[in-house]
């Protein structure tokens, strides 16, 4: 109790000091004192947790749900597994003596492999660890591209309604009507025929990114249409702040949570599409490596599916685990950023 009173007094002192010193010509000494007082004030606010910051609230909500934390843990594991582990693992080598060996739990022994080996005697465990990189990389870059496009189009369209909105809406409608999977397949078969491995991967990222932004754009437009009528935007406009500054400084921060949630879910979807493409043979191809490609190789014909199930089971399991963990995170984030669920 005494402590609380004490703090309150300190608070008044600090406030008085700030008020006293504001609006005057300041000497260096006074400036220093002002800064100090401000800092103290901030510290106090933080200590007392009077108002929790939005980021804090989101984090509190996020960690309160067990399932999202499980998702985050799983995702961290997958990141470590496919980004860090390959650095320490030996090169993938063909070994004709150990072809088509089934998986074994005693993988440290000679001739035993945790995930088995393929038709060329390559260790499936090493290939799965290695293939994750491309799957995650393609998904992440494609998501980044579509988030950028979606944010720009959605916010411009919502903010300047009228003719610009109309044009952008028609444009969005056209892109939305493009048949997603068939078009992606067609494009990567059509343009990708003569490309080398890196160019193909780049192409897939661009195609996924350039087609995948419409959902976010629609979502943002709806939000911003109502946001733009609020007082603080009106005030900014009355003060003569430029339109693009209003969008960047006042509108985007208000919808950033939406963007993050939608990006997370998009990331999961892009990983699925990339693996589907590679599975059909229109995505990553040999000598590249990705989970979708491994699944394709593991299901070449029905005898492989039947006799060497480890070839398709483990890559598939990793796709499932990755997408599931990201969806858990996205779901948790969606609930966490909703201000109706305040948890301290």
């Amino acid at each position: 109790m005494a402590d609380k009173k004490n703090r309150k007094e300190q608070h008044y002192v600090a406030e008085d000091q700030i008020e006293d010193l504001q609006g005057k010509e300041l000497s260096a000494e006074e400036q220093r004192r002002l800064d100090e007082a401000r800092e103290k004030e901030l510290e106090r606010l933080e200590r007392e947790d009077v108002v929790i910051s939005p980021a804090r609230m989101v984090w509190n909500n996020f960690k309160a749900r067990k399932i999202t934390m499980i998702g985050a843990g799983m995702f961290l594991f997958i990141i470590l597994f496919s980004l860090l582990l390959p650095v320490f693992l030996p090169e993938i080598e063909t070994d004709m003596a150990n072809r088509r060996v089934g998986p074994s739990l005693f993988f440290w022994r000679e001739g035993h492999y945790l995930f088995g080996t393929d038709n060329h005697g390559r260790d499936v465990f090493l290939r799965v660890a290695d293939g994750g990189f491309v799957s995650l990389y393609v998904g992440a870059v494609a998501t980044f591209i579509s988030v950028i496009i979606g944010t720009i189009i959605g916010s411009v369209s919502g903010y300047f309604h009228g003719i610009i909105d109309n044009i952008l809406q028609r444009f969005t409608e056209i892109v939305r009507a493009f048949p997603f999977l068939p078009l992606v397949i067609t494009l990567s078969a059509a343009i990708g025929a003569d490309l080398d491995e890196d160019e193909r991967i780049f192409l897939i990222m661009v195609i996924l990114g350039v087609i995948g932004w419409t959902g976010l754009a629609r979502l943002l437009r709806g939000q911003i249409l109502s946001l733009r009528e609020q007082e603080f935007i009106l005030a900014a406009r009355a003060m003569g702040v430029k339109n693009f500054q209003i969008i960047a400084k006042h509108i985007i921060p208000n919808v950033i949570s939406l963007i993050i949630v939608s990006a997370t879910l998009q990331f999961a979807a892009n990983i699925l599409v990339e693996s589907g493409l590679s599975f059909l043979g229109f995505g990553v191809q040999e000598p590249g490596n990705s989970w979708g490609l491994l699944l394709r190789q593991g299901t070449r014909d029905s005898s492989v599916i039947q006799n060497q199930p480890w070839l398709w089971f483990f890559p598939g399991l990793f796709i499932l685990a990755t997408v599931l963990s990201i969806n858990f995170i996205g779901d948790g984030l969606r609930d966490a950023v909703d201000p109706r669920n305040v948890r301290r």
């Binding site: 999977l181 068939p182 397949i185 599975f279 598939g316 997408v323």
Partner: protein, 327 residues
């Protein structure tokens, strides 16, 4: 209503044209020359004859003319109902695609009907008993279903039920190779082949539909007129099943419009795994053979399907929901 429909249809025309221009241009800009794929020259054929046939092919599709001329030529033919010929199958594209589309339609009709029959009751019960064991089960189920790559799921089912247990056929749509089956036997046989691909598609579409029905039912339950109904003293049964239920069905129209195009393009992968002779199969095959008339027609089919589904959705809303005004 009629006026609105007509206006919307007119609005669709430029959209369809733009999409066709984009797809056409992309296919024609491909770095490979199609005649090399389309016209086979066996070694015993003379070089001269080979060149002549390839030139004939180029002439047939006006490949030596500038791109806009090629497009107008193609578009003019389409307006007359001629989508071109498939070089590989030596058949008009319309006939070929029509045949394969029907196979996809069989599959997807079963999937849509089944997934609606399951997801509507499940979604409504989940919403009414929110956070119950039943609800939690379906919540986890739908997250799992959304994350499961459906081709992986397909392979697992194929492995278990066809390969290990031998309950279902491995692939294809029929085992009637000799054409000796009667209509009833054919039907049973087709259904037998359909079990696995349909189950995969039903289960993966349930993930989305259950969530959707649940959230639309939750919205309805929280609305004022339901509170009024309750405060009038109506029994919970009457409130839910006669007041809430019908209004919760309205957003299901959206779902249907959304499901149809997604299913048709999503079944590409599943058709591949189970060798179901549908449009997905023909699209991939034609791409591998560079059979462009077919690829072009398929892409246009998907685009028009999405646009029409969207239109039907808007009209459907106006039909069932008196609050929606069309103008």
């Amino acid at each position: 209503m009629l006026k609105y429909t007509i206006r919307r249809l007119i609005h669709l025309i430029p959209v369809v044209i733009i999409i066709s221009i984009v797809i056409f241009t992309m296919l024609r800009l491909m770095p490979v020359s199609p005649e090399r794929f389309m016209v086979d020259c066996p070694p015993e054929m003379s070089q001269e004859r080979c060149d002549r046939e390839r030139q004939a092919f180029r002439d047939r599709y006006r490949l030596d003319e500038p791109l806009p001329v090629q497009y107008l030529f193609w578009f003019g033919n389409v307006l007359q109902g001629d989508l071109g010929d498939s070089e590989h199958y030596n058949e008009p594209v319309a006939d070929l695609v029509g045949y394969y589309i029907m196979n996809s339609v069989y599959l997807n009709t079963v999937v849509i009907v089944a997934s609606f029959l399951i997801s509507i009751p499940v979604g409504i019960v989940s919403a009414v008993k929110q956070y119950s064991l039943f609800d939690n089960f379906w919540q986890v189920f739908s997250l799992l279903g959304l994350s499961m790559p459906n081709f992986f799921f397909g392979i697992i089912l194929l492995y278990i039920f066809s390969m290990q247990l031998g309950w279902t056929p491995l692939s294809g749509m029929t085992s009637d190779y000799l054409g000796t089956m009667g209509p009833w036997e054919t039907f049973v046989d087709t259904m037998h082949h359909m079990v696995l691909p349909a189950s995969v598609l039903i289960i993966s579409s349930l993930a989305g539909t259950v969530r959707y029905v649940r959230s639309s039912m939750l919205d309805v339950i929280r609305s004022d007129y339901i509170r009024t109904a309750r405060s009038k003293g109506l029994s919970e049964k009457v409130v839910i099943y006669s007041h809430a239920f019908r209004n919760a069905l309205i957003p299901v129209i959206t779902l249907l419009a959304f499901q149809i195009p997604t299913l048709f393009s999503g079944s590409v992968l599943i058709e591949r795994i189970f060798a179901w002779p549908g449009i997905g199969e023909i699209l991939i095959e034609s791409l591998q053979r560079r059979d462009f008339s077919v690829v072009l027609a398929m892409n246009m089919f998907y685009a028009v399907l999405a646009l029409v589904a969207n239109l039907i959705m808007d009209l459907g809303y106006a039909l069932v929901d008196p609050r929606v005004k069309l103008n």
